[in-house]
């Protein structure tokens, strides 16, 4: 009954505190799930793969012989102890045309009991000429089932040497357990990179011996792959098989030697025969040569003669042509003249006809005029003659009338003259008198004569003289005038004027007659002229007629001349045409002669060439023959030497790790998961355990009154503690079981699913429960919490019941350190003061919360940090460290010419920005810490290499190194693996020159692979020979990145180019590989986030329950809900911030450890967590915190003041 009541109390307790119960349940479940889940991922990965391997009968060992394996070898291997089964197989690398390219594929035979191919589509090949193709390979070609593929040989030997046919029909698509991921391994042909596999029936191979043998090790199938048990077993079997190698190889050698000797004998015989044949051929050639020369000489002479003749004929024809041309010209000339003459004749004739017509017209006119005008003219003449006579009579009469009048007049004129002379004398005398003074004369005359002086005398005399003269004169005048009058009277005229009038009228009559006479003369003249005119017209016509007659005569003679000329020309043309015809015939003859000659010449030349060719051919053949013979002899010699040199064939016994490309990678990934599993879940689990521990402790402390009461009632300690222990046990055990069930299924599933990106051919994910992890996690969880519960119960139970029943002395408020710093303290308000004091007061809760939040934060930081560090190596390596775009690897024995060609091609390529030659070789180096393999890289130019690579320190990006003559630069990861630092010595192993020591000048940042950079000078010093550059690295111009493959394809087609690798494709491949880690990281982050949420919720829950009374008081005092909440939140926020900061620091350390654990040897992961990752982690934590606070707000609101303050519990 008692038990029943307790059980009831127990059940009610769980119901009442469901939140707490659930939170413990889930925290434990999360912790256990994460712990066991992550840890179980590793074995689950192995088991998943192992199951696939076992199901598909993947071989445990692969044996390959350098000279193949005979059936006897196979049998011998089968007899080795520890070997369960063995089967011979064939394989060959061939080239498969894909688009314009040729990809290398690995052709393998189907095995009866090994390496079963899973067929995705179609079926397995059943006979020769059928094949099944790799699914991955097929996915990036156009090939499909039913297509036919013709493979090519990659090594110069015909494919049909080793295969029945080179053309195969694709009958199926499938996957092989030999290739669990994308990698297909490497080859010695083509680009050196195998792109896929092709499975054919054994019958397709035409080989005397097997190329390999697959071995199954007894008991290995029961072991899980990738485990030490399995590895030990397969290593032991490998040893055992290797033990029979020597014996088997010796036998194989003998076989080969015998076979070779036989062949050699055959060859020698053949060579001797050939030698004889060659001698015969030589002789034949000589005789043939001289005969040919003779015949040719003859033919040549004939040709020369023919040519001379032809030249003569040509000359003649040319002359003839010239003459003919001249004649033609003349004839044409003449014809032209004749034509013009004819034209003239015609025009002349026309003129003449016209003139004749005109003349006839004129004669007509003349005759009519003559008859009309001649009588008139004759009459006129008679009139004129009569007129003339009349006029002459008139004149005679007039002259007779005039003569007396004129005599009179002349007499009158003489008288007049005398009168006028008298007048002038009178005038003169008067003038003289007028000069003398009449007074003076008077005076003087009065003076007696005597008394007058001479002068006076003279004067008087003169005066008197003059007067006398004057008187005389005047008298004379009067006389004259009288005469005149008299005469006039005599003649009958009154006056002189009448005379004058008479004269004038007479004269006028006379003049009239004169005028008439003149007119008559004129008429006469006119008439004469008219007559003359008429007569002359008649004369003219007569003249014209005679002229025309003469012209006509002329014309007629001209006409006869023209007709003659025409006849002549006609006959001349006829002659000419005849000549021309002859000439043309000659020409045709000439042309045919020339053709004949040309034909003859080409015939001759051809014959000569043929003869020469035959001779040369013969010679070449002989030389070839000789060379072949020499070669054959040499070969025989070589073969002999070789046979002597034939070494023991070697066997390569390989375990899966050695033989399969991706096998080890899968194991590594599983190991990496184990590393992650070591770190993460522990921390995760720790947080979870601590939180549930706190919760349980709290629960016990809360119920002290009840414990006291029970104790007081007399219950035993066990009965009392049982309740709490039971509570904890049910919660943790339930949580553990739930966690294991869920965690071990879901987490490995998610993680392996993530890896399936890489290993997509794993057929099924196997997730068995791993009881060891389940038990580990559960036991730890249950034990931790039970111990904590028992401990706190024990503490409480130790106290007296009375003490327990009193309310627990509230923790004393204490002055804290901060209060001493007055400045800060005074500025805090009470709620802040209370908050700060609270934080300090509940130290356990404080640290728990800090640790809880910090732990989750740290997990997230690590999760994000891993992502940062792993992802960034691709971009860091190929953008900051090696930023060239591609590398071209050349054959070691490439000719200088080919090397030049490649270099020239790159130099002239418009897309290529820059190139540099480097030498790359794999080398072993050692330090005190051990021996490692790395790439030796010798750039041809110490400075130019810095355009392709950057040597710098990781920690200080500004610290850039350059390659020095006497020091080397080592990459960082290798330096740490070898445990060396700058200034240390490093030993390079060399087979020829022994160990060489170099000094490390610098250690540079590098993430992928390991490199040791050397200057060419240092290389020469170390190896004693100049560097032979075997690689050209180059970068393309900006924006020409898409052209890079085109360039690469061209390069690959060139002689001596082994491989071209593109940085972008390496980057892509790495990205693919690393992407599989993504999901793992997401799992980490999500889990950490979930934990953060649960932790925060739980702690807040405790906080609120613990302080319900205090919060109720605040409510009673009138604090609004928001104010109450902020009172609580303040603490949460502070705790979240402090926890986050702690988490960052913790995360940083944890991250460093994790990175080093997770890192693989070939690569260095980044070391730096990006600030964004801290930010994201913080934001996540803060978001969870906010969410929890939001949920808590309602819880706070629901606090019932009345209930809370009622009494002290």
């Amino acid at each position: 009954m008692k038990k029943n009541i307790l059980r009831k109390d127990f059940i009610i307790e769980i119901k009442k505190t469901m939140g707490r119960f659930i939170s413990i349940f889930f925290i434990v479940a999360l912790g256990v799930a994460f712990y066991s889940g992550i840890r179980a991922s590793e074995p689950s990965m192995r088991i998943t793969a192992d199951q696939y391997f076992d199901d598909s009968e993947l071989m445990d060992l692969k044996v390959m012989g350098t000279m193949g394996l005979t059936k006897a070898d196979i049998k011998a291997i089968g007899k080795v102890s520890g070997i369960e089964a063995v089967e011979g197989g064939y394989s060959k690398d061939v080239l498969c045309p894909v688009g314009d390219n040729e990809k290398v594929v690995h052709m393998l035979s189907t095995q009866k009991n090994f390496n079963q191919v899973s067929v995705v589509e179609g079926r397995l090949p059943e006979k020769a000429g059928e094949c099944l193709v790799d699914e991955d390979f097929l996915s990036y070609t156009d090939l499909k089932v039913g297509d036919t593929v013709t493979f090519h040989s990659g090594d110069g030997e015909a494919l049909t040497d080793s295969l029945v046919t080179d053309t195969y029909k694709i009958v199926g698509i499938g996957n092989s357990p030999l290739y669990i991921s994308f990698g297909r391994g490497s080859s010695t042909i083509g680009t050196g990179e195998i792109s896929g596999f092709v499975v054919v029936n054994k019958a397709s191979f035409d080989m005397d011996v097997y190329t390999e043998a697959y071995v199954k090790v007894s008991g290995a199938a029961e072991k899980t792959a990738f485990t030490d048990e399995y590895n030990d077993l397969s290593d032991a079997a490998k040893e055992a098989v290797s033990a029979i190698e020597e014996e088997r190889c010796a036998i194989r050698k003998q076989e080969i030697v015998d076979e070779a000797n036989e062949k050699l004998a055959d060859s020698e015989k053949t060579v001797n025969e050939k030698s004889q044949e060659l001698e015969d051929a030589k002789k034949e050639l000589e005789s043939g040569k001289s005969k040919a020369a003779e015949e040719l000489e003859k033919a040549k002479q004939q040709l020369t003669d023919g040519e001379a003749e032809l030249a003569d004929a040509k000359q003649q024809i040319a002359d003839g042509e010239t003459q003919l041309a001249d004649a033609k010209a003349q004839l044409n000339d003449k014809q032209a003249q004749l034509d013009s003459a004819e034209a003239q004749y015609e025009s002349g004739k026309a003129q003449l006809d016209q003139k004749e017509q005109e003349l006839a017209d004129a004669e007509q006119v003349y005759l009519s005029n003559y008859s009309k005008y001649m009588p008139i003219i004759t009459a006129g003449k008679e009139q004129i003659a009569a007129g003339k006579t009349q006029i002459a009579d008139g004149k005679k009469q007039l002259d007779e009338g005039l003569a007396p009048l004129n005599q009179l007049k002349d007499g009158l004129a003489e008288i007049e003259d005398g009168i006028s002379r008298c007048d002038s004398e009178i005038a003169e005398l008067n003038t003289q008198l007028n000069g003398m003074d009449s007074n003076e004369y008077q005076k003087y005359v009065n003076i007696p004569k005597e008394n007058r002086n001479e002068e006076q005398q003279a004067y008087v005399e003169k005066w008197e003289n003059l007067n006398i003269q004057l008187a005389g004169m005047q008298e004379r005048k009067t006389q004259l005038e009288n005469t005149k009058q008299e005469k006039l009277k005599q003649a009958g005229f009154a006056t002189e004027a009448d005379l004058e009038a008479q004269i004038t009228s007479l004269t006028e009559q006379k003049e009239d007659l004169d005028a008439k006479e003149t007119a008559l003369l004129q008429q006469e003249q006119t008439l004469a002229a008219q007559e003359e005119e008429l007569l002359s017209a008649g004369r003219q016509i007569t003249d014209g007629k005679s002229q025309i007659a003469a012209a006509r005569a002329q014309l007629d003679s001209a006409k006869s001349q023209i007709t003659d000329g025409k006849a002549q020309i006609q006959s001349a043309w006829a002659l000419l045409n005849e000549k021309e015809g002859t000439l043309n015939a000659s020409k045709a003859q000439l042309a045919s002669g020339e053709q004949e000659l040309a034909d003859g010449r080409s015939e001759y030349e051809q014959a000569a060439k043929e003869a020469e060719d035959q001779i040369t051919d013969g010679q070449v053949k002989i030389i070839d023959g000789e060379k072949q013979l020499a070669d054959a002899k040499q070969k025989i010699a070589d073969a002999k030497a070789e046979i002597k040199k034939i070494e023991n064939p070697k066997w390569y016994v390989q375990t899966r790790e050695d033989a399969l490309t991706e096998y080890q990678g899968y194991g590594d990934n599983a190991d990496r998961m184990r590393s992650i599993g070591k770190v993460f879940p522990v921390l995760f689990f720790l947080v979870a355990a601590l939180i549930s521990l706190t919760t349980m402790t709290r629960m016990v402390e809360e119920q002290r009154v009840q414990i006291g009461t029970m104790k007081a009632l007399g219950y035993g300690k066990a009965a009392i503690a049982g309740k709490y222990i039971g509570y904890a046990l049910i919660a943790t055990l339930g949580g553990s079981i739930f966690g294991v069930l869920i965690g071990e299924k879901i987490l490995p599933l998610v993680i392996i699913y993530g890896y399936m990106i890489l290993y997509k051919h794993l057929p099924a994910i196997l997730l068995p429960y791993h009881m060891s992890y389940a038990i580990q996690a559960s036991v730890i969880a249950v034990a931790c919490i039970l111990i904590a519960t028992i401990a706190s119960c024990y503490k409480e139970l130790a106290a007296e019941p009375a003490e327990l029943m009193r309310p627990a002395a509230p923790k004393q408020g204490k002055r804290i350190l901060l209060e001493r710093i007055g400045i800060i303290w005074k500025h805090l308000n009470f709620t802040w003061k209370s908050t700060v004091r609270n934080l300090i007061r509940y130290k356990k809760r404080f640290f728990m919360t800090i640790f809880g939040i910090g732990g989750c934060m740290a997990l997230m930081v690590v999760g994000f940090g891993l992502k940062d560090c792993i992802y960034e190596i691709v971009s860091l390596q190929y953008e900051k460290v090696q930023f060239y775009d591609a590398a071209t690897y050349m054959n070691d024995d490439i000719s200088e010419e080919n090397r030049q060609q490649i270099q020239e091609y790159l130099d002239q390529n418009a897309d290529v920005k820059e190139t540099i030659e480097v030498h790359m070789q794999k080398t072993d180096v050692k330090s005190a810490s051990g021996k490692k393999t790395l790439y030796l890289m010798v750039p041809s130019d110490d400075e130019k290499i810095e355009d392709f690579l950057s040597f710098h320190s990781r920690t200080n990006k500004n610290e850039v190194y350059s390659l020095k003559k006497d020091e080397v630069i080592l990459t960082e990861k290798m330096a740490s693996l070898l445990n060396v630092k700058v200034g240390d010595q490093l030993t390079i192993e060399d087979e020829d020159r022994g160990d060489q020591t170099v000094t490390i000048g610098a250690i540079c940042e590098n993430y992928m692979s390991h490199y040791l950079y050397l200057s060419p000078e240092k290389y020469e010093e170390l190896y004693g020979k100049p560097v032979e550059y075997n690689t050209i690295i180059y970068s393309v111009k900006d924006g020409k990145d898409d052209q890079i493959e085109k360039t690469g394809t061209k390069l690959l087609a060139m002689d001596g180019v082994l491989n071209v690798s593109y940085t972008s494709s390496i980057e892509g491949r790495l990205d693919d590989m690393l992407r599989s880690l993504n999901l793992v990281i997401v799992v980490l982050i999500v889990s950490a986030g979930m934990l953060a949420f649960v932790v925060l919720y739980n702690l807040n829950n405790i906080n609120i329950t613990e302080r319900q009374r205090e919060l109720a008081t605040l409510k009673v005092l009138g604090f609004y809900d928001g104010e109450v909440a902020s009172y609580v939140y303040r603490e949460n926020i502070l705790l979240t911030i402090i926890g986050s900061v702690v988490g960052m620091v913790l995360g940083n350390f944890l991250h460093r450890y994790t990175i080093l654990t997770v890192e693989v040897e070939e690569a260095m992961f980044g070391r730096q967590i990006h600030w964004q990752s801290y930010l994201y982690s913080f934001l996540f934590t803060a978001a969870f915190s906010l969410f929890v606070n939001w949920v808590m707000f309602y819880k706070l609101k629901k606090i019932d003041m009345v209930e809370s303050l009622k009494s002290v519990e």
Binding site: P810, Q812, N838, L1114, K1115, L1117, Y1120
Partner: protein
């Protein structure tokens, strides 16, 4: 004189499954401003329910509660909070001090949210804690803690001081001292004080005595001559 506090037919019914329990079953009483009222009655009589409803910590199922002319029954949760903040001072049986604030800080905590507070130090001096101001509650005796609690309530300068068995956890003498302090405050400051107790011996000190019985007011009487606490013995 106007009724300062008045309850009219106040009921508070708790539903416990099928059963209805009436903690208050039609309570009617009035208290005048400046009175010292004592509500007395046996356990379960509904005293605390009355106080909780008056203090705005709980709401009545029906009826009217008039405080200074306002009916708080209709108040929303937020209005009730404001009401507690500005109008009410509470003194609890178990003091309910914030353990990690000093005496002074506990008083100041209440003051920082109210409109017209008194000076914290002065009030603490008045309640006789001048030299214990810097002490944390755990460092004070029960009486001293109750004084801090009273100081915290008084300093808010409330309209109504509600005291729920303030002496319940104290010994006789300390209890007396506390009662005296409350009576003095009432007289000196003219503050309306409602005190709940199951101890009917202290009723003579009150101006008004309300006797509760089974969720109802059994009787209400006015003391013509209230006596000082010192003279009361129990």
């Amino acid at each position: 004189m106007k009724e300062f506090v008045e309850m009219r037919d106040v009921r508070k019914i708790y539903r416990m499954g099928e059963v209805e329990i009436a903690a208050a079953d039609g309570i009617d009483f009035q208290i005048k401003k400046g009175e010292f009222a004592v509500v007395v009655g046996p356990s379960g009589a509904g005293k605390t329910t009355v106080l909780n409803i008056l203090g705005g910590m709980d709401t009545a199922t029906s009826g009217e509660v008039w405080i200074d002319g306002k009916n708080i029954v209709k108040y929303s949760s937020r209005q009730l909070t404001s009401y507690r903040r500005d109008d009410i001072g509470f003194v609890f049986q178990f003091y309910n001090l914030i353990p990690n604030l000093t005496a002074l800080e506990n008083v100041e905590l209440a003051l920082q949210i109210c409109k017209d507070p008194l000076d914290a130090e002065m009030v603490l001096k008045e309640v006789g804690l001048a030299d214990r101001m810097k002490n944390f509650p755990a460092q004070l005796s029960g009486g001293e803690q109750q004084r801090v609690s009273i100081a915290r309530a008084l300093a808010k300068n409330p309209k109504l001081l509600l005291c729920d068995e303030p002496t319940g956890a104290l010994d006789y003498n300390t209890g007396k001292a506390i009662l005296k302090l409350l009576q003095d405050m009432c007289r000196e400051r003219g503050m309306t004080v409602i005190l709940i107790t199951h101890n009917s011996a202290i009723t003579p000190m009150a101006d008004r005595v309300i006797k509760m019985k089974n969720g109802k007011v059994g009787s209400m009487k006015l003391n013509e001559r209230p006596v000082p606490v010192e003279t009361i013995e129990w």
